[in-house]
Symmetry: C2
Subunit: 489 residues, 2 copies
């Protein structure tokens, strides 16, 4: 989940100075409009120690009109507070209509800290999170706008920062926290996943570069305000309007995909040898899974011409046809359209011991349907949580779930398109739609990045496949099957 916040986004000083004045102006305008509309805004500033949450809040104070803002840091509970239920101290700091509250820490801190230190069992932790989710839904239903920002630092960066001697790192608890980086990551991931609701989603901010961190925060707040204001005014296509409102950081930023090393390749003879060995293992594992009644579901998504079909064939060649099924997902049928969008995937779930391979999947909801505007923003935003719930129900049932994104560069994609066009035996593979999709690469990259971030869970992480070299990609996919099944069986 946090990989997408470790891709090294940064903004140069010059770029920052170019962007900042306009951002501030628009933030002030949005703040004024939200106040006039009587919207209570709650900005939750959370994240790892050392990520500079204090710096972010100071920056917001210089950007915004502080007369409409109350900032609260929730440290140790006071006597007054510990004598009441946990939410009491937050309730008394809730902003009235037309005001903004900035919460440092908030209702997430205590459960996450207690979980990371092992004071809270996983059942009770999840119950607390459910209560938080219900509490937030209650506030949103009453008209509140809740903007939740999670500031992330890679472990190495955190260590480096905490070595510096300053007032903050001298606080004893900061060091105690840093020692439990992994436990905190795990608890944080669970907390974010369980409370990432359509009405108030989480935004993960890469905090390594201060300028990027501050600009991203400003834009996320601005976007949330504008989306809400547009919705109040009944703007026809809020999706378009607000997506366009934050181009600067989007272009300045890198996505998780930029981190894939596309130079990886395999020589033919190495490939042949490796693939044969892997397929042999996969064949044996598939029979073992069948005998044990252990079910497998694999999802393939990726750019057009990234090699999904070829990779799937390398997998299925190793498996008996009675044991697997490839489900080609195209436009839904009439009957499917008459149901919930997950229905058609639910009904294809394999029986015990079988392997189902979805060639494209339920992720269409947050990819093509999002980019093409086929689905309203509210609906696809809600889909992340729905998909996570759906996948959790598979995993709870003991199903092995694998998800692959096949990645190629736009240049390699173009080469493959042109090759297909030239080759009469492959020409049918390429359509006008492929060319149209290609033009929207930028929008798709944003969608893919968000998809991977919001749905890479510990039980069902995404595997990003380096698809520039077909052989490398195919071996990577088959190896992932072998590794995962060896682990789960």
């Amino acid at each position: 989940m946090f990989e997408a916040a470790e891709v090294g986004r940064s903004v140069s000083k010059k770029e920052y100075e170019r962007i900042e004045p306009d951002l501030q102006l628009r933030l002030l305008e949005a703040q004024r409009e939200a106040a006039a509309a009587g919207i209570p805004v709650i900005l939750i500033v959370a994240g790892v120690e050392g990520a500079g949450k204090g710096g972010v809040v100071n920056r917001l104070h210089t950007w915004l009109d502080t007369r409409g803002i109350e900032t609260s840091a929730f440290w140790d509970r006071t006597d007054e507070e510990s004598e009441r239920p946990p939410f009491w101290r937050f309730v008394r700091r809730l902003p009235p209509r037309g005001s903004m509250a900035i919460f440092f820490g908030s209702w997430y801190s205590e459960p996450i800290v207690e979980r990371a230190f092992g004071e809270l069992g996983s059942g009770r932790f999840e119950k607390r999170l459910d209560q938080i989710a219900a509490f937030e839904r209650m506030l949103v239903a009453d008209g509140a706008l809740i903007v939740k920002l999670w500031f992330h630092l890679p472990r190495k960066e955190q260590r480096k920062r905490l070595k510096k001697k300053d007032d903050r790192t001298r606080m004893p608890f900061v060091r105690r926290f840093a020692k439990r980086y992994s436990a905190f990551q795990e608890a944080s991931e669970t907390a974010i996943r369980k409370t990432d609701q359509g009405e108030c989603p989480w935004h993960i901010v890469e905090a390594t570069d201060r300028r990027y961190r501050d600009l991203a925060t400003g834009y996320m707040l601005l976007r949330a305000l504008r989306q809400r204001l547009d919705a109040e005014e009944g703007v026809d296509e809020p999706v378009r309007h607000t997506e366009v409102a934050v181009p600067e950081v989007a272009t300045a930023s890198r996505t998780i995909l930029d981190h894939v090393d596309l130079t990886q390749s395999l020589e033919l003879d190495v490939y042949d040898r490796e693939l044969a060995a892997l397929q042999d293992k996969l064949s044996r594992l598939s029979w073992k899974a069948w005998e044990q009644g252990h079910t497998t579901v694999a999802v393939f998504e990726g750019w057009d011409a990234a090699g999904k079909g070829g990779a799937i064939r390398r997998v299925t060649r190793a498996i008996d046809a009675r044991v697997y099924r490839v489900i080609q997902v195209a436009a839904p049928t009439d009957e499917e359209l008459a149901h919930h969008y997950l229905w058609r995937f639910w009904r294809q779930l394999p029986r015990a011991g079988q392997i189902a391979i979805y060639d494209r999947s339920w992720y269409g909801r947050v990819l093509v349907e999002r980019v093409e505007g086929l689905t309203q923003r509210d609906d696809w935003m809600r889909a992340y949580g729905e998909i996570n719930d759906f996948e959790e129900s598979l995993c709870e049932n003991g199903i092995t779930l694998m998800k692959f994104w096949l990645h190629v560069s736009p240049e390699e994609q173009l080469a493959r398109f042109e090759e297909r066009q030239r080759d009469p035996t492959k020409r049918w593979k390429i359509t006008d739609e492929d060319w149209r999709n290609r033009e929207k690469r930028g929008e798709y990259e944003v969608a893919v990045n968000e998809m991977v971030t919001r749905t890479s869970t510990s039980h069902a992480p995404w595997t990003i496949v380096a698809g520039e070299d077909k052989r490398f990609a195919r071996a990577q996919v088959v190896r992932a099957f072998v590794d995962r099944l060896s682990e789960d069986l």
Copy 2:
């Protein structure tokens, strides 16, 4: 929670025959409109064994156009079904847009049965319920209408029915279930409370009288359909419109309040003696609570002139003024109006060891605000769940929570109003608003009944006080304090 379904509602044969033709006509019309509007309707028929769920469904089949209905009974899982996650078998029976599905049992049966037989711990049970709630929210967000009916029988009635020899009672599991009546009640109550959402609330149907049971089912389904259809059409005041749509069963039915024995009274000398003894105990208990840091919250609601003030004074006289506080809840201040409606009650929560007495409370949301139309239907429907969550957070924090409804007959109320009007020292107590409220007694009775049903939880049940005789009522209230605190300290 189930008390409201043990009040002995019944409908005579003559009345039934008068009502049924019109009900059927309106049901058919609503069914047609819902089909035309493309709404998928899910009717969940759940409840205790022997309540006649089969009979209800048969009746619905005669009333409705069965071409648009698919009925599914979820008994033992098939091989096919047990090889997939639990929701799979329900998903494949979900109705397409414009159709209706009647689910016998549904996703609630398994968790409740497993809980009642002790196969499921309370933590895992609650997790299953949370998953169900999320699943239902997902369907509703996609446009589904979910109508959830729980058919209730008192234990005695169930026993009587299961003694009869017929095909159904010969089923072995029916008898096994009946033996665990209490365990089923408890699990069912938890399930209903945790999944009683504003978007798809539960309706509890008293199933003792078959005619009442069938008519109530028909009207609840009709009301749910009409509310949804009105909302689609953007009818201005759906609250009014749809409340008026089901007058017949409402008038034919009795509420939980009709069950209060208002003839109970106390002689003056008995009262004096009892009250003094109770107050002495309460005094000692209040100091003990203070020493232990044990907090108490008491809520008083009731009819105008039912004697709330007098009862509260009998309690507070026993307690040191430093330890208790009476919170008079009147119209909210400007500041309070600028927050969530629960905010003003949250902030009045007492410190450890203190006793807070709310003279009127957060229940105004589902009483006066509902009846006077100050709050939209969606908002007050959602409030039951919000209030249950709020009260659960108090109880989890170890707070003793007591809730009193002071009940008097309309005749006694009138006598007290007139007495107040005559007495110059009391005239200030009575306002035009009191007279106006009195005229809406019927609407208030419906609201009170629903409030008690939906918010009588095992940790915070309502106490209905027989207020016709002031002495009896006061002694009952003080005794409730003594009993509850003795238990909790």
